[in-house]
Subunit: 310 residues, 2 copies
């Protein structure tokens, strides 16, 4: 066993990303299926994928994301907020996979800024990673957002995740884009235009997020009456949804100021524009880099006893 | 030809309703396919369905809805707002179907209360019908709403439709209900509960429509963390979307006061509750009755020359 070698995994609903790490270097990387599309058990899927990596004698593996949900490998109950890296480390679930110790990072639950229940699973690791990549976030109160299928607006205070608020922005966009009359007849290969996106942001900035459902219909009316192009229509739809997500944040958080956006570069760029249209400014962190930094923070100390469940 | 006998039709995207009328009586009624699901041409579909009715020697037919759109029988260009019954009558498109004069009611376009373009097709007939069924609506300024796949909030001033605002509420509900992770695992046969619906209205009343996307995610979080039942989850989703539609109306219209709701009784009941939760009160008009009254208003005068396009 080489205590410097470890397997990291970001195992979500639709995608698995595995990394073979030595210290801070990535020796190898491979992708696999998300937990919702497995053809074998999660354990067998994992062992088949990491098979030859075991020759390097990794000390263990650590996995975050939906792998720890009811539809994953084993359920790692949500840890409550406020939560620091230390709190999450305590809640890591340890199992054994054919002799390899595997740590499963739990998700987080909270009472969100609207007083409702909320959950995340996977994003907590990216947030802790962002705190390592930008240590200024460990002091004071900060707003972060992780855009995607479900955007997660997160408040971090003095290094602890104190609460977050989720909106199914990417999911709603995909459904309206593919199935609704708003983008009917727009081929699936059409990408949204930057001009359409900017127009969507502007309409939200003008009327506020409360009128999002009504502004959505403009996507159709502008195609019918003004000859809006397919690419502009798709961009407009995206701009309305992301613009409303950013505008709503001002209602519960207050003035946006600096917002840290953690995600894929293209998505970060959309949120950068949306947050700017609402008076804020953005520091962007790449989502994959944040996962690696977060898993590093949550990994067991190199010489710790590795307690394994029976 | 019997000038007192006329065929009325409400021909939408997914459904055709035909009525054989004599004066104010319905002699017969039958249903057919909407314009998006035809297996024959619109003309042939119509002629096959009304075949034996021709023995009664109807003076003509009048049809409203998507039958007059690009995907319908013949395109009847939108009439602009403000529009009275007289204005719409002038824009009715007259065609011939195997010797039977057929009038196609045009839709309406407007610059909506948010300054954007908006369209309706079919609802204009229901609104004019509501003015006949409740003549008090012909004087002063009134807010009406036609709930459905696309809710249409409409302002009528002294008998003219001066503007309207559309939101794809029913369509968004159906997509989130059937395809999203918010109601994942909820069987399609599950009906929303009244309790869940009321909870959705209350959450919108508490936080305002701007937070709709974020409150939507509670549908999922409450199932995961609080054991919210499937029926309550579906009702909650519906309550959030309809509650936000009603709450948004206050932002552009002002205090709601009396709102006339025109639709199917079950849907009218949902809007009744939503509008009440936003401080308004409702007069409900059955949608089918409104269509018949509207088509009566828009029918050609019995002894008029019936100008038929070649």
């Amino acid at each position: 066993m080489d205590p410097s070698i470890f397997i990291f995994g970001d195992w979500g609903t639709s995608r698995l990303r595995l990394y073979l790490r030595q210290g801070k270097s990535v020796l190898d990387r491979r992708d696999g299926p998300g937990v919702s599309v497995l053809t074998k058990s999660p354990e067998q899927t994992f062992l088949d994928l990491v098979g030859d990596w075991r020759e390097a004698q990794p000390a263990g593996a650590i996995l975050c994301g939906m792998v720890g949900s009811r539809i994953g490998w084993v359920e790692a109950p949500y840890a409550p907020c406020p939560a620091t890296a230390d709190d999450l480390r305590e809640h890591v679930l340890k199992i054994d996979a054919d002799g390899l110790p595997v740590s499963i990072v739990p998700g987080l639950s909270c009472v969100n800024p609207l007083g409702g229940p909320d959950v995340m699973r996977g994003e907590e690791t990216q947030i802790l990673g962002a705190l390592e990549l930008d240590p200024a976030l460990k002091h004071g109160r900060h707003l972060l957002v992780l855009p995607g299928t479900h955007s997660k607006w997160t408040v971090v205070e003095d290094g602890a995740i104190t609460g977050f608020l989720t909106a199914p922005v990417g999911e709603t966009f995909a459904l309206l884009r593919q199935h609704s009359t708003l983008a009917a007849g727009v081929g699936v290969e059409v990408q949204g235009s930057a001009q359409g996106f900017a127009m969507g942001l502007a309409r939200i900035a003008e009327h506020g997020p409360a009128l999002l459902p009504h502004l959505l219909f403009e996507t159709r009316a502008r195609q019918l009456l003004e000859g809006l192009s397919a690419a502009d229509a798709v961009g407009f739809l995206s701009g309305l949804l992301i613009g409303a997500d950013a505008a709503a944040a001002r209602q519960w958080f207050g003035d946006l100021g600096k917002v840290t956006v953690i995600g894929a570069p293209a998505l970060n760029n959309f949120y950068d524009q949306a947050i700017a249209s609402q008076g804020g400014h953005v520091t962007a962190i790449d989502g994959d880099a944040a996962v690696l930094a977060g898993l590093t923070t949550l990994s067991p100390p190199k010489n710790s006893d590795f307690h394994v469940l029976a």
